[in-house]
């Protein structure tokens, strides 16, 4: 053969061999050398709601805030609270009401501006002034609520004896406050000069004015299409890790994201609370090579069914005004109790998790009360006596609750549409029909409608869910189950008001967590006994990570920091 013929023959042969053996980007990573291109790419389905730490309330947005901004403290990859911009842990006075923070003198913004205690005071005051969802993290400070209400312009409880010391006086001792400060939202420090120059509502729109003290800064943003981040040069905290760029595609749904991942377009799927769909997760689990790329972490979301305590057939005090006590020692006759228990016992949570969560990969059956596995306040497996599956007892309680058969008619289960919610809802409906013979109509709607009706306390049975903000039971009780939150317009959608339970949790709130935990558990048991929430599953967070990407993960609340992620040669 001539030379050209030989080379052509070889090319064809190699091509043919490749077709058969599938050479090309393989799934096995090579060595531990770093790749030349250290760009981390991943997707988001919807654009961020807001990038302003004072305004943020969505878990998705928080991912980016934690990289661009710093708080005094942060949660590390093991969910321990460690200092971030602060120097060491706070000094707390003996009465628990005065907290002194020493600031790290090296902290500066990505544009070089230095950070002093005055900046912290300004940032926290601004958060209170704007008064969005997580401003409540600072309410415990004396004078904070006055600023939130517009009655004052400065927070009386905050002071700065010198440039690097911050002192906060609290209204009451609060063991949970450190956890709130470690959340990457409201309590982060912002650059006053930049914000005042660019405009209060406009500074997040341009990459140039989106300034923080974190290890990364935003370099580009096309709304609803993409975002780009790069590490900050000479970051005060030291090395910014191996990554040189982070690129986020917006508007890509989970199924498309997985496909792009498979063709090497993304390094990771699942970051920023964007879990791959259960069908894809199942496919990965069942495939021997692919399963190495799948990591499932226990997540921080619980899903439940909430029952209305003041109106409808499940009410414990029918006709009560939302905010009135519905339970407690005084209310021994609870007409709805048997019904709530019946409905809870009639659901086989294992079947639900199996069907709704791809063979129980993306969620686990919930049998230990509302607080998720792995977090403080979890009652342990089968710790919830009404979460077991017992059709006989359920039927008996059903007849006890509704001997005439009228209460069980016309029931509607309300929920907001999403693939996971649809699956759970359909399985709940099927199981109630099969095990109790009760026809519950499914009424899906979008989230704002559901939320509006829930706050009005008119939803009789509805989907409930809570994503943990920080590892402390106070996050649950004070936001979801207190009498104060039972009023119309507030977060206790079931209008459950148990003054005895509130007394216990209020006392627990003042103590450090180790002493407080037994009280919280006691309160949780009361809650579970009244079947306020019929807890069905604990979420998990599945991630798909390329084999050559190291250092990514999830600590139960947040993604591992981008600082530790690196891309190996592949």
């Amino acid at each position: 053969m001539t030379r050209s013929r030989v080379s052509r023959f070889l090319a064809v042969a190699v091509g043919a061999i490749c077709l058969v053996t599938a050479c090309g980007p393989s799934n096995g990573g090579g060595g531990s050398e770093l790749a030349a291109d250290q760009t981390l790419r991943f997707n988001m389905q919807d654009d961020v709601t807001s990038l302003d730490p004072a305004d943020v309330d969505a878990a998705v947005d928080i991912t980016f805030l934690s990289e661009v901004f710093s708080g005094l403290y942060k949660f590390d990859n093991e969910l321990k609270i460690v200092p971030d911009a602060a120097d060491g842990m706070p000094q707390v006075s003996s009465d628990g009401k005065t907290w002194t923070f020493k600031l790290n003198k090296n902290v500066k913004f990505s544009n070089g501006d230095k950070v002093t205690a005055a900046d912290w005071i300004w940032s926290w005051t601004r958060t209170l002034r704007r008064n969005h969802a997580y401003a409540s993290n600072l309410y415990i400070i004396t004078g904070a609520q006055d600023v939130a209400n517009g009655a004052a312009t400065t927070v009386s409880g905050l002071s700065a004896p010198d440039d690097y010391t911050l002192v906060a006086k609290l209204d009451a001792p609060a063991g949970y406050w450190l956890s709130q400060l470690a959340m990457p939202t409201a309590a982060e420090v912002l650059d006053r000069k930049v914000i005042e120059a660019a405009g209060e509502d406009k500074w997040t729109e341009q990459a140039a004015t989106y300034i923080g003290t974190g290890p990364f800064k935003m370099t580009a943003r096309t709304p609803k299409q993409s975002m780009d981040f790069e590490p900050v040069k000479d970051w005060w905290g030291g090395s910014t890790g191996a990554l040189t760029k982070v690129h986020v595609d917006i508007g890509v749904d989970p199924a498309a994201a997985v496909q792009k991942f498979e063709s090497g377009g993304y390094e990771i799927v699942g970051m920023a609370n964007q879990a791959p769909g259960p069908d894809d997760v199942l496919r990965y689990k069942n495939d021997p090579t692919k399963s190495k790329l799948l990591n499932v972490y226990p997540g921080a979301r619980t899903t439940a069914v909430g029952f209305n305590f003041v109106s409808g057939p499940f009410a414990s005090k029918p006709g009560a005004k939302p905010g009135d006590p519905t339970n407690g020692a005084s209310n021994t006759n609870d007409p709805g109790l048997a019904g709530r228990r019946a409905f809870s016992l009639a659901i086989d949570r294992k079947q639900l998790a199996d069907i709704a969560c791809a063979h129980a990969i993306t969620c686990q059956p919930a049998t230990g009360g509302p607080i998720t596995i792995g977090f403080k306040g979890y009652l342990g497996e089968n710790g919830d006596p009404w979460a077991k599956f017992d059709v006989a007892q359920a039927k008996q309680l059903l007849e006890q609750w509704d001997p005439s058969g009228t209460k069980r008619k016309g029931l509607e289960y309300r929920y907001n549409t999403s693939p996971g919610n649809d699956k759970r809802a359909q399985n709940l409906q099927a199981q109630w029909k099969q095990n109790l013979g009760v026809d519950v109509k499914l009424v899906p709607s979008d989230f704002p409608t559901l939320q509006a009706d829930r706050k009005k306390k008119i939803v009789i049975i509805g989907r409930q869910s809570w994503g943990i903000d920080y590892d402390h039971p106070q996050d649950w009780f004070d936001n979801l189950f207190s009498c104060d939150q039972a009023k119309v317009g507030r977060g206790n959608d079931e209008a459950y008001c148990n003054p005895d339970m509130d007394k216990i949790t209020a006392d627990a709130n003042t103590k450090p967590i180790d002493q407080a935990l037994p009280e919280y558990v006691q309160a949780m048991k009361l809650l579970v006994n009244d079947v306020v929430w019929m807890t069905i599953d604990y979420g998990t967070q599945p991630y798909l990570t390329q084999s050559y990407v190291k250092g990514a993960g999830y600590n139960g609340l947040y993604d591992f920091s981008w600082l530790g992620i690196k891309i190996l040669k592949h």
Binding site: G277, D279, N286, Q351, I355, Q426, N427, L442, P444
Partner: protein, 302 residues
């Protein structure tokens, strides 16, 4: 049909007809031609099957369409479950049957309602002309400028989901084509002599519309209505795909397809069954519609 001749002319005509051959009506003629069109007959057959299955599914399906966990989820076809199980463990064969019922309801329902609206408005616009026509035509023209999917989406947002609402939402845009068609037909038919004649003898307008114009336009109307059925079915499938179709756990084919698509790589049988059912039904209606159109078309008469 031999009737007693009432006049001499009539009897002569009958003799003539007897010589020439059977006297056939337009309908019989069209039916005969349709029968010869093999593809249309196949389409008709499929549609009959579809209707039978839909009706049967109202009272019986092998398993309840809503019952879950009948076996391991995603299971492929087996003897007890010939089409396999879906991602909830529900029997797909039963659900395809149930889907036929929903498709029938949505398709025929929307087609009927849209046709009624379209026929009435088309007749009025074409017959009375003038201001009536101007108003109706303007409405039609403006509505033509707005994609029907968008109107349906907005309607679903406003009036909510549920099978009646979906039918309504689809009908709201589907009547346009029918109205235009009937209007055009009415324009040409009203110029014919027998309409003139009826008018001169003082027949009220409503009678003219009902007895003379409508029957003559019936051919194209039936064809259009036939085409509307698959269009409505596909429309509902589109809505289901976007998450706004008939609410769960109704086994509409569009819904089944969109749920099954996510599991395409691990369990292709889930999405295949409704897609095939959907495509075959639409194909059948299209074949029938084409056949009807060819059968009724006067140009084809030889």
């Amino acid at each position: 049909m031999a009737a007693i001749p009432s006049t001499i002319e009539a009897s002569e005509e009958q003799l003539l007809a007897a010589e020439v051959g059977e006297h056939v009506t337009l309908g019989q003629d069209a039916w005969r031609r349709l029968r010869r069109n093999h593809v249309a007959v196949i389409g008709l057959g499929i549609i009959c099957l579809f209707i039978v299955v839909a009706l049967v599914s109202i009272v019986w399906t092998p398993y309840p369409t809503w019952q879950q966990a009948l076996g391991p989820t995603y299971q492929g076809p087996t003897l007890t479950h010939p089409l396999g199980l879906d991602d909830y463990g529900r029997d797909i064969l039963s659900r395809v049957m149930g889907g036929a019922g929903i498709a029938l309801a949505v398709g025929v329902g929307a087609s009927l309602i849209a046709s009624c609206i379209g026929i009435v408005l088309g007749l009025l616009a074409g017959f009375y002309r003038g201001k009536v026509d101007m108003v109706i035509s303007t409405v039609i023209n403006i509505s033509y400028g707005i994609p029907d999917l968008l109107i349906a989406l907005i309607m679903v947002l406003l009036i909510g989901r549920g099978i009646q609402n979906i039918i309504l939402a689809i009908s709201v845009t589907a009547w346009l084509g029918m109205a235009r068609l009937v209007r055009g037909q009415t324009f040409s038919i009203r110029e014919r002599e027998f309409v003139e004649a009826a008018r001169t003898i003082g027949t009220p307008n409503s009678m003219i519309l009902l007895r003379h114009i409508l029957p003559n336009a019936l051919g194209p109307i039936v064809v259009q209505a036939t085409y509307l059925v698959p269009a409505a079915i596909i429309f509902e499938a589109f809505l289901s795909l976007l998450g706004l179709g008939v609410p769960p756990p109704s086994p509409s084919w569009g819904r089944m397809a969109s749920e099954g698509y996510k599991a395409l790589q691990i369990a292709p049988h889930i999405v295949l069954a409704p897609c095939i059912a959907l495509s075959m039904t639409v194909l059948a209606f299209n074949w029938l519609g084409d056949g009807l159109r060819d059968a009724i078309d006067p140009r084809m008469r030889r």
